[in-house]
Amino acid sequence: MATHAFKINRYNPDDERRGHYMQEYPLDVQKGWTILDCLNEIKWKQDGSLTFRRSCRSGICGSCAMTVNGVNMLACETQALTLKSSTIVVEPLRGYPVIKDLVVDLEPLVESLYAVKPYLITKTPLPTDQERFQSPEERAKIDGLYECILCGACTSSCPSFWADKKYIGPHGFLKAYRFVADSRDEGTREHLEALDDKHGLWRCHTIFNCVEACPKDLNPTKAISELKKELVREKIG
């Protein structure tokens, strides 16, 4: 039962003068507690005004992505004790405007998601009374893509995004490729449109922070490299 110090970024929009500051909370961390358990414990027992997003607490909804000790992760699936540090620094996702404490405005994330037309585009009429067929091999092509929970950890970790707030970002690229790679999708051009853009694919410098940050162990960089090839093929033949 080690005593930990949680240093948490505080920001109250109603108190602009104070701006951002770090507040320290001592906490006896129990074995098995996740970062989210710790934050809840602080909120529920020490300071009710501490604000963060959470919902599923099982790593599937994507609410609780934040920066812990300088790395983006899901608070709810990170065991506090495995961080092996008695000081735990918790900050909001970098690159997004902060609404309050650890809560960021994800509007830019959603906007760039919309930009890639994130839905299956089909042109041939659908079969009636039947599903479309897709072989297990074709289906396997979107493994590692469809699992994205839109947590934003990847894009928020990307230096290209820090430099350009309109950068579509790895989550957008991954989503675009999820459809491009789907054997049922017939809208490759539409998905790619927004990517060949000033704020699009060419801003990715293969930095791999997105891969390191993704809590679902997805590999946006791989998707990005496939998309770049696809676009180049289209242009050069």
């Binding site: 951002h20 920066t67 000790n69 970098r94 410098h205 590999n219």
Partner: protein
């Protein structure tokens, strides 16, 4: 506005920063180099004279550094290109390791050749 803005530097970030810095260093070196060489077309005497001046330990040292920068950018550039081609994307750290190993080996070998022979001006 924000208090701490620290984000952990992963291997990939390190590679990118070094690639950027080396690339920038190289382009400025290249411009300088073209400028200098241009002024040397005056003829044999001035060329060799200048070369003689470069043939001292300080410039050798700088040149060894230059080779290091070029070789890093070169091998990391090849790493990036391989990843862009979809090669070993999932093993990027291994790929970086290979690039670093080749970089160090080439750097060493070329430096030895350079120092042990004579002063040369790269890009000549």
């Amino acid at each position: 506005m924000r208090v701490i803005k620290h984000y952990r530097v992963h291997l990939g970030t390190l590679a990118w920063i070094l690639h950027r810095l080396s690339g920038l260093a190289l382009i400025f070196y290249l411009l300088l180099h073209i400028w200098v060489i241009h002024h040397l077309i005056g003829g044999e005497e001035s060329f060799d004279g200048i070369m003689e001046r470069f043939n001292n330990p300080l410039f050798k040292f700088l040149e060894v550094g230059l080779i290091g920068v070029i070789m890093f950018h070169l091998f990391n550039g090849l790493r990036v290109t391989l990843i862009d081609m979809g090669v070993l994307v999932e093993r990027q750290k291994l790929l970086f390791g290979i690039a670093v190993a080749l970089w160090l080996v080439c750097w060493f070998v070329i430096s030895v050749a350079m120092i042990s022979r004579f002063g040369g001006v790269p890009f000549s």
